[in-house]
Symmetry: C2
Subunit: 438 residues, 2 copies
Amino acid sequence: MIEPRILKGFRDSLPQQELRRKDLITCLESVFSSFGLVPIDTPVLEYTEVLLGKGGGETDKQVYTFTDHGGREVAMRFDLTVPFARYMASHAHELPLPFKRYHVDKVWRGENTQKGRYREFYQCDFDIVGIDHVSADFEILLIINESLKRLGIPAFSVHLSHRGIFNSFLADLGIADRAPDILRCVDKMQKIGLSEVEAQLQEIITIQQTRDVLAFISASGTPLEVLSALGDLCGKAQEHIHRLSILTDFAMDAGCADTLVINPSITRGLDYYTGVVYETYLDELEAIGSICSGGRYNDLASLYTKQKLPGVGASIGLDRLLAALDELSDTPSRSSTADVLVICMDESRMGDYQRIACRLREAGLHAEVSLTKRRLPQQFSYAERVGIPLALILGEEELESGTYTLRDLQSRMQERLQSIEKLVNRCRLLTGKGAHTL
Amino acid sequence: MIEPRILKGFRDSLPQQELRRKDLITCLESVFSSFGLVPIDTPVLEYTEVLLGKGGGETDKQVYTFTDHGGREVAMRFDLTVPFARYMASHAHELPLPFKRYHVDKVWRGENTQKGRYREFYQCDFDIVGIDHVSADFEILLIINESLKRLGIPAFSVHLSHRGIFNSFLADLGIADRAPDILRCVDKMQKIGLSEVEAQLQEIITIQQTRDVLAFISASGTPLEVLSALGDLCGKAQEHIHRLSILTDFAMDAGCADTLVINPSITRGLDYYTGVVYETYLDELEAIGSICSGGRYNDLASLYTKQKLPGVGASIGLDRLLAALDELSDTPSRSSTADVLVICMDESRMGDYQRIACRLREAGLHAEVSLTKRRLPQQFSYAERVGIPLALILGEEELESGTYTLRDLQSRMQERLQSIEKLVNRCRLLTGKGAHTL
């Protein structure tokens, strides 16, 4: 006998969790599709050299790499961005540009699990590449907005800023060469707070420069107020400030400016970003941090092709979002999607039970059939345990007369319905499933 | 610059293919759910010992195995059955029994790609475990039926047989010890034909025994005729024949007996199966072989637990099914799901375009916005190329007057609509999207 253990940092998904994850992904994918984004997929395994380049940084140590049967050095994908860059280099000539894509799938990193991190987890990325235009920056903002609204999240804000403005400001101060360190330090603001950022900045730059940087990142108010303050602080960044101001105008025209915050302290640690950057916070759960982040990059696939592919995109933290939805919602999650449990009264009637269940299924209802005869209370209690709201009782009498006894398991009310049409309508009413939802 | 090559046997999925695959999976999962089956997930990486046991057969050589950062021997899953067995051993106490599950996801095998095989491919499994009852055998048959019907496959048949009957028959002939070889040989019938099977059988058993086996596997006719013939041929298998006959009765009661064929030549090569076995053939594409196969097994998780878990299930060959649907369908596949392309006439109006597009999205329509101003014919031709049927033209005049010009790209007819409600209704009508499909 082998012990059925699983690897540290990996998880089985029980039906209840898996249903919630699938619901979340279905909802997000339907938002992405509604904007005309299309799905792509790439292999889980790729040549190590293609995924990691020739270098070997901090991330690389976490990547699962090995030698395959044919002696090739291969690696499991550790994000969905690098494979997308490789994909665009391979397929740009077959795709319309700008190309709008989404990709929701697993990635793997041999992270330290003591930090509560998993070694197998989901990423959810959406991007618009082949265009450097404020209309694309704006569309990504809209998609973030729509995604959270469609998930029923009551209050959130999308914080926006522009790397170009900050870089220009640092250049004015004569500390452009320290930009990476400063960005990384400012990026920790939400986590460590203003005074700690101040202390850390003073190790990199002078006290006056630190004050100037803090004044910059502390600018707050309505989008127009912040943009005006930034205009005063960095005269040479007018072009970038103008771009954010057009984006703000678009958001007002589209009626979605209420969630928009221009926040100069948003920098995103990564060198990768060159233009607008996004972070998204839930008003009621600020402590969990940003649940959707991203930004504009100059050139997606420069590692693989000379073709210039500027783009903009963002990534939703699915695990974090699931945790947030858990906290925000009171409705218990189910471990079944069935609407009706067809009770088994007589095992020889299984053909009839399934025939009637099929009628319900054709009408878009989910009908599970009990496969063996057990006492009625046992069958009811199974339904209640997994979250099936209705039970259909088909005794000899019902089957002979073509009638249907439907039991609402919560109210314990039973009623006899005289036709399959009436049964379907009653089930729809009681489960809230409209006539057209299939 | 790194060449953006991918590994042999692995594939990128372009939007057109990925949309088709996702549609197929969504359709199958909605059928599974309609029967009350629930989704589960397991890790892609597991301990090698857990996935492969302590042995090392033919499959094992194809499994991707390696040593991870922590010195653990790990393997990528090569099917969805072994991880499910391990999963049930770990979680049976938390799950209702019988447990009905589905799992659609990728698996990896380092197969010889010269045979046209891929090293990364999808499996689609559904099972009912914790029950040894004809009602479960019957439900799996129904799910196969419903899946193919829902996919719009015009004509197919599910071929059924019972391992127990064949084994009993071979025991009667005194050749029970040769059963594995004989089963494997008979299993090739569809591929190599009757006379080649005869030749191969004669290398294992006598000429008379070969004749008897051939008589057994050639029994044909209606389910009742075949069952009666089998009853005559193997008197000691009455119990198993009775089970198939109850299953046939159920199918008749449920109104789905028309696709059912009792075919004693169906054996499924694997030792694993102990009861009913299934293969599914498309009438118009018999040559591609079975697109859904499975059967009943005695004990799913005996490698990991003493708890006896009998079950029955089947697996759909997604790649094969996609190829079949391609051959059977005339409708060209699209590389976009958008219903409407909102034309960009003036880049400064992007906020208005998106505001109106959002109204369409709220109504369940997919509205893509052109992100830059290009000549009208160019924007139309993009829509036609990716398969977007409608274009929405919002010039100054339309935006000022609150009207909407909608162009049907196929008929090239344009009409002016006077309100957003009229626009929504017209789009729904022209795309066939009902009021309630979100």
